[in-house]
C-alpha cells in the first residue's frame, strides 16, 4: 500500500502543477487549494495514464523510464510555474457566520463515514464489483504484462466475446492508470498481484470528486454553498458505493464535473487560454475514460463555441481542442487497436429505426431513469429532496442570472440525451441493459448536476450583527509581481 501511494504522489503533484500553471485565478483562499489539489489529482492520474499508454505503445514503458519522464515533467512544470508566478494576493475568505463550522464538521464526518465504508468493503472484496475484475482491472493486468501481453487488452476474444464483458475498444484511462502503478511498483504476475492499486485509485478519484465539488463551488459562489453541495453529494449513497466498486464511472463523473467547473471558471475570468485549455484537457480525459466521454467532449466544444464572445469563439474552441489532444489521441489509438466492435450497437440503420419508433422502449427507458434517480439515496435524505429544501430556503436566482448560467447544464443534458438514444437502439436485451448501467449513467453526471443546481440558488444573505459573524481581519495586500513573459494567461 505504501508503494502504491508513493507512485500516486508524482501523478498528483504533476496534475496540481498543471492546474496551477493553467488555471490559477489569482486570489487564493484555503478552499482554492482544495479545488486545485482535487482537480490536480484527477488531472495527474489522467495525464500520467496517457503518458504510460503512449510509452507502452512505443515499447519504452519500463519502471526507470516512467520515473524519469514523470520526474522530468514535474521539474519542468515547477520551473515554468516559478517563472510565471505572480504573487497572488493572500486574501482572507469572505466573512462567514461561525455556523459555517457546523457545515465543515458535518462534511468531515460524512467523508470519514464514506472512507470507512470503502475500507470495510474493500477489505472483504478487494477486487471490486463485476466490471472491475472482468473489464477494467483485467485490462490493467494485460497492459502491465509488457509486450506482447498488452495487446490482449484489445483482443477480439476478450471475455470470450460475451456482451457486457467484452467491450473491445473501451477507453483505457483507468486501466492504464492501474497498470502504471503496477509497473512502477514491479507487481509480479507469478503470484497474487497487488490489489491495492485499483482500490487506491478508485478512492482517490472519489475523494477528489468530493473535494472538487466543494472547492469549485466555494470559488464560484462562496464557502457555504461549497460545503452544502458536498453534503448533498455525501447523501448520494449510490455515488459513495461506486468508490468500492472500482468502476470507471466515478473517474468519468470526476472529469465531467471538472469540465463544467473549469468552463464556469473560464467564463468568470473572461475566457483566458489557460482555463480553456484546462477545460479541454479534462474533457479529453473524460473521452479516454469511457465511451460517453467522447460525445461529452464534442458537446462541450459546441457549447463553448456558442457561449464564448463572438470575437473569441474560434480561439476559445481552438484552445479547448488543443487541451483535449492527450485524451483524444489516446482514445483514437485504443479505437484503432481494438479488434471487433461493440456488441450493443445495431448492425443496420433499419434495425435502429425499428427500435426507435417503438413507444414501449421509450416508456421503459423513461421509467428506468425515473426509478434510478429515485434510488440515488434514502428517501428521508434524498439528494434531490435536499436540493429542493435548499431552493426553498435560499430561493433561486433571477431569470437573467439563470439564463446566464444554464449553458453549463447543456453538455450534461446532451450526454443524458445521448445515453437515452443509446438505450433506444441497443441490441442487448433492454431490461438487462438498463438494470446494469442506467444507475451509473446517472451517477456520471450527478456531481455536475449538483454544481449547476447550486449556481441557480440565490446566495445567502451576509450576517449584519457582529455577534453573528466570524469577523476575519483582512490581511494587507502583498506586492504585485510582474507577470512573466510567455505566460499562458492573457
Amino acid at each position: 500500500m505504501i508503494a502504491t501511494i508513493g507512485t500516486l504522489l508524482p501523478a498528483i503533484v504533476l496534475g496540481w502543477l498543471i492546474v496551477r500553471l493553467f488555471g490559477d485565478e489569482g486570489n487564493r483562499t484555503w478552499l482554492t487549494w482544495v479545488f486545485q489539489i482535487s482537480l490536480g489529482a484527477g488531472v495527474g492520474l489522467g495525464l500520467t495514464s496517457c503518458v504510460y499508454f503512449a510509452m507502452l505503445l512505443a515499447g519504452v514503458a519500463s519502471r526507470a523510464a516512467l520515473f524519469a519522464v514523470e520526474l522530468i515533467a514535474i521539474a519542468a512544470l515547477a520551473m515554468l510555474l516559478r517563472k510565471q508566478r505572480t504573487v497572488a494576493d493572500e486574501v482572507a475568505p469572505p466573512q462567514s457566520s461561525s455556523w459555517i463550522w457546523a457545515l465543515r464538521i458535518a462534511a468531515g464526518v460524512g467523508v470519514v463515514c464514506i472512507s470507512l465504508s470503502f475500507s470495510e468493503s474493500t477489505a472483504t472484496n478487494p477486487n471490486g464489483e463485476w466490471d472491475a475484475f472482468s473489464i477494467w482491472n483485467v485490462r490493467a493486468k494485460y497492459l502491465a504484462g509488457g509486450s506482447p501481453a498488452w495487446r490482449n487488452a484489445f483482443g477480439g476474444n476478450l471475455a470470450a466475446g460475451m456482451t457486457g464483458a467484452a467491450h473491445p475498444g473501451y477507453p483505457l484511462l483507468l486501466s492504464a492508470s492501474i497498470a502504471r502503478v503496477w509497473t512502477l511498483t514491479g507487481a509480479p504476475f507469478d503470484s497474487t498481484t497487488s490489489d491495492a492499486a485499483p482500490a487506491a485509485i478508485s478512492l482517490l478519484f472519489a475523494l477528489a470528486a468530493y473535494g472538487l465539488l466543494a472547492g469549485a463551488l466555494a470559488s464560484a459562489v462562496g464557502e457555504m454553498f461549497g460545503w452544502l453541495a458536498l453534503l448533498v453529494l455525501i447523501a448520494t449513497e449510490a455515488f459513495a458505493t461506486q468508490a468500492a466498486s472500482q468502476y470507471a464511472d466515478l473517474p468519468l463523473a470526476f472529469f465531467i464535473l471538472a469540465t463544467i467547473a473549469v468552463a464556469a471558471a473560464a467564463e468568470r475570468a473572461g475566457w483566458p487560454p489557460g482555463l480553456l485549455a484546462l477545460t479541454g484537457l479534462v474533457a479529453g480525459l473524460a473521452a479516454f475514460t469511457k465511451n460517453e466521454g467522447l460525445p461529452f467532449l464534442l458537446l462541450t466544444a459546441i457549447v463553448i463555441l456558442w457561449r464564448a464572445p463572438k470575437s473569441k469563439r474560434m480561439i476559445a474552441v481552438g484552445w479547448l481542442l488543443l487541451g483535449a489532444v492527450p485524451g483524444v489521441i489516446a482514445t483514437l489509438a485504443v479505437k484503432m487497436l481494438a479488434q471487433g466492435t461493440e456488441a450493443v450497437f445495431p448492425k443496420s440503420a433499419a434495425q435502429a429505426l425499428h427500435q426507435i419508433v417503438d413507444p414501449s422502449r421509450w416508456m421503459q427507458i423513461l421509467g428506468s431513469f425515473t426509478r434510478h434517480f429515485g434510488e440515488l439515496g434514502v428517501w428521508w435524505a434524498h439528494p434531490l429532496l435536499l436540493i429542493v429544501v435548499l431552493a426553498v430556503v435560499f430561493g433561486v436566482v433571477s431569470k437573467d442570472d439563470a439564463r446566464s448560467r444554464v449553458w453549463l447544464a447543456l453538455p450534461v443534458a446532451g450526454l443524458l440525451a445521448a445515453d437515452f438514444a443509446l438505450y433506444l437502439v441497443t441490441t442487448a436485451e433492454l431490461s438487462w441493459h438498463l438494470s446494469t448501467s442506467n444507475g451509473r449513467v446517472i451517477l456520471q453526471v450527478w456531481p455536475a448536476m449538483i454544481f449547476v443546481a447550486f449556481l441557480m440558488l440565490r446566495r445567502p444573505p451576509e450576517p449584519e450583527e457582529p455577534e453573528l459573524a466570524g469577523v476575519l481581519a483582512r490581511k494587507p495586500p502583498g506586492p504585485k509581481a510582474k507577470r512573466a513573459k510567455g505566460s499562458a494567461r492573457e
Partner: protein, 146 residues
C-alpha cells in the same frame, strides 16, 4: 424592520442549511452501517480473490505470455459458468484466456473445475492431456501429440 427581516432571513437560511447537514450526516452513517453489514455478509461475492489464490500456482507451469484455452465443467451459458470464467480470466492475466476452440486450439489450456469428475477425460475430449494438477480444481493441460 429591514434589520429584523434580515435576521429572519439569515436565521431561516442557516436553519435550512443545518437541517440539510444533519440529514446528510445521518445518511452517511446509515450508509456506513449498511456497507459494513454487506461487507461482512458477502465477502468476495464473485470469487475473484479466491480465483487469484487458486490459480497462482499455475503460473509456474505455464510459459510466459502463452495464450490459454479454458476447460471447465461449468458451462458458459449459465451465470455460474460465466462468473467462474471471468474470475479465471482475471486471475490468469496477463495470459489471454478463451474457451477452447477446436478449430484453432491453443498449445496450453487451463482447467477450472467446480465439481468432482474425471478431469483428464474432460481435457482429452478436446485433445489435451494433463500436465499438472495444482489442486482446488485447477489443472494445466497441453495439446496431446498427434
Amino acid at each position: 424592520m429591514s434589520q429584523s427581516n434580515s435576521r429572519v432571513g439569515f436565521g431561516r437560511v442557516w436553519a435550512g442549511a443545518l437541517a440539510v447537514a444533519a440529514l446528510s450526516v445521518l445518511a452517511a452513517l446509515n450508509f456506513y452501517s449498511h456497507a459494513s453489514k454487506l461487507a461482512a455478509d458477502q465477502p468476495d461475492p464473485y470469487g475473484a480473490s479466491s480465483a487469484q489464490e487458486r490459480f497462482a500456482p499455475a503460473f509456474a507451469h505455464l510459459p510466459k505470455d502463452a495464450p490459454l484455452g479454458y476447460i471447465s465443467d461449468l458451462p458458459l451459458d449459465q451465470k455460474a459458468g460465466v462468473t467462474a470464467f471471468l474470475a479465471a480470466q482475471y486471475a490468469l492475466a496477463p495470459h489471454a484466456v478463451a474457451p477452447v476452440d477446436p478449430r484453432v486450439p491453443t498449445e496450453w489450456a487451463v482447467g477450472n473445475f467446480a465439481l468432482a469428475g474425471d478431469y483428464p477425460a474432460s481435457g482429452a475430449r478436446l485433445g489435451y492431456m494433463v500436465v499438472a494438477d495444482v489442486g482446488k480444481g485447477v489443472l494445466i493441460f497441453r495439446r496431446s501429440p498427434k
